[in-house]
Amino acid sequence: MTTIPLPQPDTPWTLPRRGPVGILLFILAESSIFAVFVAAYLYYIGKSLTGPTPREVLEFPVLMTVCLLSSSVTVHVAIRALRRGATARFLGFWIATIILGVAFLAGTAREWYQLITVHHLTIRTNLFGSTYYALVGLHASHVIAGLVMLLIVAAFGLAGRVRPDHVERADVISIYWHFVDVVWIVVVTVVYIIGR
């Protein structure tokens, strides 16, 4: 079908690409979910009736934070490499991202092990326990989801099947990974700075 064309100049008709738009909208929804967990955390600061307090049991997670934030750098470098066509460099930095992410999770696991076995803090101990495990756990589950996606791409990469024209799709995953990092900054601020 045709319409009556305006005497319009042959301007290019470009709309945003669906990958980044989709992931950004998804991040909008995820941010709303995290906002509720953060709001609950902030509301319940100081309101526990019993049990260990944050000040007694929490230590600022320096190494974990460094790992996760560095992983944003590595994934960014990886994407830039793939955009230039340097697939080997891409794969190297992509795998470095995964390793840093796993290190972060290992740090979380260690922290939780300490909290449970040494300080006897569980999700049902008091309000602090409930809000802490919920918020940090929600974030950690998003790290795991991100790692799964990163691993799938890494597997393709190791099989030699990732090409430079896949950069858009890899970029979508890297945007998600950056989101996970930004959320960690918020979590650290709320849990380890404000909450203590």
Binding site: L25, I33, I123, A134
Partner: protein, 558 residues
């Protein structure tokens, strides 16, 4: 009717596809048109189920001290009725219309992420089935079903294990989490489609109003449904792992649930109602033979409603003991949202004014919406006045108000939309005669049921009660209210019969039976699988008007 094709069966070399082949094609489809139809059929099935629940409720309440069902069973009925109608009828049917229409209206081949689209449908389907399977589970206490009985907004701490032991509430929580995932997936999809898939020339300012409203609604879903998902997860942590988010014994706050729920709940009712406004914005112009009055203002009003609606939630909490300042703030913000909503009503009126109104079935429903939404909006303003709300909230007055919104306005708009777009999807016209029977029966039944409930509320009848005492002046209003159900059921039966009968025997529709102006009417009915043979190019808000009136195209005036 042209077949939409069975590509998989054809590829397998089968001549005439068998029933199983046809079923298989539908189950694995990622085509937005088929998924749209599946969403709508799913919703219509649950409309019937929710309607049966409502019928039993009204039978029980037809007389004082009635004992048709036990108190526990009644409580599960109103819980499931509300939950079903909001999450398994309202959201899916509107997702279905958005899925079907948006790619057609913007001149696209499909949505941005077809497989995510299919995922969204199936997880919604699974959540709905899971929730309703609770009816079949072992009784929890005092006989009756294992369905949840906590009300559709599940206030804490009633939903905690201490007061709702057993699994009934867990079905509610998990079912809604799943359905929420479906909504969010659908919202990401449709919003991305609108932002990235429009035909050449279709700037945001040239989209059909239904598509514009859909864009605003999908963004609202992303921001509003997520808090519900988050709250349900927190409740699930309380119930399943012993957390204390809503446990007052451990210092938890019952009010926190209310705030979180209504931060979802209020935008949610606009998420439900706005697409109905979108239907009206398509139907009224076509059947008045006039362009929509004030397109830019309609867009601005929609966006304003979207934003303001996020700031009004605590008008559901006027009786919880908030400070006078908080109560005043929420009264004001709620009153303010009436302004853009009223503007839309006036713009539709101005569209009709000076037109040549054709009273075909879609238009009959649209006109009923205008009048019934006027009532709903007015009772809404009454409820926004906090001291008046202190008497009216949690009474049958509120029940009347929101049914005027969700049935009198939204459902009527949906009926109009079905009559309007069924010919496009199926290729045949629905019967006008049956349509008019449907309309008048439902109009009478709806008003008989819900007008008296305003009076019951003002006479002190609380909501969610399984009976009422005689001698309080409530009998007459409840009886009339229950009688109305019979008319609605009759009207609904006409509707279903119309849909079935027209499928094979309706007159052929052709591309454009209504002489309409948006892109979906440019292609065959039903559309081919690929929608548009060539991507269309548009120069105005009404591309087909331009084609039909080459000497007076819209882009001279926009």
């Amino acid at each position: 009717m042209t077949t939409t094709g069975f590509p998989i069966a054809a590829a397998a070399g089968k001549g005439v596809p068998s029933v199983f082949d046809r079923l298989y094609e539908w189950v694995v489809t990622v085509d937005h048109k088929r998924l749209g139809i599946m969403y709508i059929l799913f919703a219509l099935v649950f409309l019937l189920i929710g309607g049966i629940e409502a019928t039993v409720i009204r039978l029980q309440l037809a007389a004082a001290n009635n004992h048709l069902v036990s108190p526990h069973t009644f409580n599960t009925l109103f819980t499931m009725h509300g939950t079903t109608m909001v999450f398994l009828v309202g959201m899916p049917i509107l997702a279905g219309f958005a899925n079907y229409l948006v790619p057609l209206q913007i001149g696209a081949r499909d949505v941005a992420f077809p497989r995510v689209n299919a995922f969204g449908f199936w997880i919604t389907c699974f959540g709905g089935l899971l929730l309703n399977s609770s009816f079949l589970t072992a009784p929890v206490l005092f006989g009756g079903s294992g369905a949840p009985d906590v009300g559709w907004f599940g206030y804490a701490p009633l939903t905690e294990n201490a007061f709702s032991p057993g699994n009934a509430t867990d079905y509610w929580v998990v079912g809604l989490i799943l359905v929420g995932f479906g909504s969010i997936a659908g919202a990401v999809n449709i919003a991305t489609t609108i932002l990235t898939g429009r035909a050449r020339g279709m700037t945001l300012g040239r989209m059909p109003l239904f598509t514009w409203i859909t864009l605003v609604v999908q963004c609202m879903i992303l921001v509003a449904v997520s808090p519900l998902t988050a709250s349900l997860i927190l409740l699930f942590l309380d119930r399943g792992l012993g957390a204390h988010f809503f446990d007052p014994q451990a210092g938890g706050s019952a009010l926190l649930w209310q705030h979180f729920f209504w931060i979802f709940g209020h935008p949610e009712v606009y998420v439900l109602m706005l697409p109905g406004f979108g239907f009206l914005s398509e139907i009224i112009p076509v059947f008045s033979r006039k362009v929509i009055f004030g397109y830019p203002v309609m867009v601005a009003a929609t966006v304003a409603i979207g934003f303001i609606s996020i700031s009004v939630w605590a008008h559901h909490m006027f009786s919880v003991g908030m400070s006078p300042a908080a109560n005043t703030f929420f009264s004001i913000s709620t009153g303010l949202v009436a302004v853009p909503t009223g503007i839309k009503l006036f713009n539709w009126l101005a569209t009709m004014w000076g037109g040549r109104i054709q009273l075909r079935t879609p238009m009959l429903f649209a006109i009923a919406v205008l009048l019934q939404f006027l009532v709903a909006g007015i009772t809404g303003v009454m409820l926004s006045v906090a001291p008046f709300d202190w008497q009216l909230t949690d009474s049958y007055f509120v029940v009347a108000h929101f049914h005027f919104v969700l049935v009198g306005s939204l459902l009527f708009a949906i009926f109009g939309a079905v009559y309007y777009w069924y010919p496009k999807a199926v290729g045949r016209m629905l019967s006008e005669r049956l349509g008019k029977w449907h309309f008048w029966l439902f109009l009478i039944g709806f008003n008989l049921t819900f007008i008296p409930q305003h009076f019951a509320g003002m006479l002190g009848m609380p909501r969610r009660v399984y009976t009422f005492l005689p001698g309080r002046g409530l009998e007459i209003w409840n009886l009339i209210s229950s009688i109305g159900v019979a008319f609605q059921l009759a009207g609904g039966a006409c509707f279903v019969w119309n849909l079935i009968r027209a499928y094979r025997r309706g007159p052929l529709a052709g591309n454009d039976p209504w002489d309409a102006w948006t892109l979906e009417w440019a292609i065959s009915s039903p559309p081919p699988a690929y929608n548009f043979a060539e991507p269309p190019v548009v120069s105005s808000r009404r591309p087909l008007w331009d084609l039909k009136h080459p000497h007076d195209p819209d882009w001279h005036y926009e």
